[in-house]
Symmetry: C2
Subunit: 302 residues, 2 copies
């Protein structure tokens, strides 16, 4: 079973829920205990605090969820030390059997895109040697540069049984500015044209589960668009951000799932990571409860 | 003079040409001499070779050109060690008085975009302390996520006299797929709508030079679109990739410039970095000559 979607749904089925925990380490939100231990005198110290926090969260949520999504931006904020922390967080997540989605929203052309893709997914070949870099199961990709910019990601993913999630409809308010432009040729908005293209890419390589290895990022904050895209691209795995702290409710995201409970992973970052003020002593119990509560709302029978 | 465009054109004017040298370190193209010294047994060694090569190129081209553009993807390919090399390359470029454009094509929403933006440009504030991270003069940004995704980059740029280059029309063949979709409301393609929006952002903060601090990436490989965009957005600094190895000729890119020779920086990466086979012993002389030749073709009187 080396098709990304097959691995993804197998993991989701075993855990019994579609929750993805987003790993967004933010200094101002970290537990006081963790901040105090590392101080904040250097970016190395901040990165070490980010790493400790994420590793402890991984240990807490690994028995409950199938998927985690480290947000590259917060690690990059700490420079090279942050990237080392990111690498270690991804490694630990893999060791715990979690599916990892590196949320870095990369996009470039030709051999530059290949550099991003190989680093994110199956590793790079340099001078006849093979090196793993971030070694994630999937990576998020920005489609604006077009087909030949996304292809290197598909190639790197398929060589190693990994996946790609292409931004189709993002969860932010400003998403409408360009994504909702109505297109003359298609009689529909840009994001639907992107969605159709993502579907075509995904159908090139379906797994036994009937799903492809090219997924779509579709925000929970636009429930009507989410339902419509689910219909338009049935074989495409969805990654749905915006659930929880960003305002998307369980009712809003459930249309992303098919009848069998598969078809989408629903991400919550802040809602799970920071359910209590930094001064809270039993923050780990609170994180666990927040994850359990998010899972309960996603798996409640109507 | 702390407006990005003023600093940019002042530097270009002093050097007398609009060439930007792209720093795209590729293992298979590096001079044998550099590869042999570092070996390629680890990503740390590859990163060290990338760093040495880029630093030596910087020393060669700094007397000739005003602007350099490190491509983040090739550094990220080496993991944390690559990011350290990137940081050092950016630092040396600044020390040499060069304007630096970090070509990382980032894009995300809200506080995540702010994390990318602050790291790339004026630095981050964590726990009351200020840290520089990549500390570039400008960064490339992907517009697909919309206004509220680009705003944090404008904010970080304006706080520190830095700039942003938004992808409008990329230089790859596949650019047409989404960027050329005709938009009903505007009677024009998506990339022109993006261009108009970039112009509006740029006009919010014009420098004494009459140019804004939000630029546009417009590929040299589409000369007709380049001319049209130059007319549509006169106050917007252009970053023009695709010149040289990607196929754009001097005739194709000159319409990006205004009559005074300003208005655009023209990037060449491979054409300057790799004018000769890796075995060439006097590669530094060849790089110097390639840069001089690119400059001559861009500044030839018709």
């Amino acid at each position: 079973m080396n098709h990304f979607a097959d691995r993804l749904w197998d993991a989701v089925r075993r855990k019994g829920n579609p929750l993805c925990v987003g790993l967004d380490p933010r200094w101002e939100s970290l537990p006081d205990e963790v901040r105090r231990r590392h101080g904040g005198d250097s970016l190395d110290a901040v990165a070490a605090a980010f790493e400790e926090f994420c590793l402890r969260v991984l240990d807490l949520v690994a028995p409950l969820v199938a998927v985690v999504k480290p947000q590259s931006a917060f690690f990059e904020l700490c420079g090279p030390a942050g990237m080392l922390a990111l690498q270690r967080v991804l490694r630990r997540a893999r060791e715990l059997g979690l599916i990892t989605i590196l949320d870095s929203k990369r996009g470039d052309i030709a051999s530059t895109a290949a550099a991003y893709a190989e680093a994110a997914l199956g590793g790079v070949d340099i001078g006849g040697r093979h090196f793993d870099v971030w070694d994630a199961d999937a990576v998020t990709v920005n489609p604006y540069l077009g087909d030949d910019a996304v292809r290197p990601f598909l190639k790197a993913a398929r060589r190693a049984g990994r996946g790609v999630f292409v931004l189709v409809r993002t969860s932010n308010e400003g998403a409408r500015l360009f994504q909702d432009l109505q297109v003359t040729q298609a009689g529909r908005p840009v994001f639907e044209v992107v969605g159709e293209t993502v579907r075509a890419w995904s159908r090139e390589h379906l797994g036994r589960s009937g799903y492809g290895d090219v997924g779509a990022v579709v925000g929970a904050t636009y429930p009507a668009e989410l339902s419509r895209l689910r219909q338009l691209m049935p074989e495409v795995p969805f990654l749905v951000p915006g659930f929880g702290a960003q305002g998307g409710r369980a009712d809003d995201v459930l249309p992303a799932l098919n009848a069998d409970g598969l078809g989408a992973v629903i991400n919550s970052s802040r809602g799970v990571l920071y359910p209590c003020p930094p001064s809270t002593l039993d923050w780990e119990a609170q994180v666990l409860q927040a994850a359990q509560s998010a899972i309960a709302s996603l798996t409640a029978k109507p």
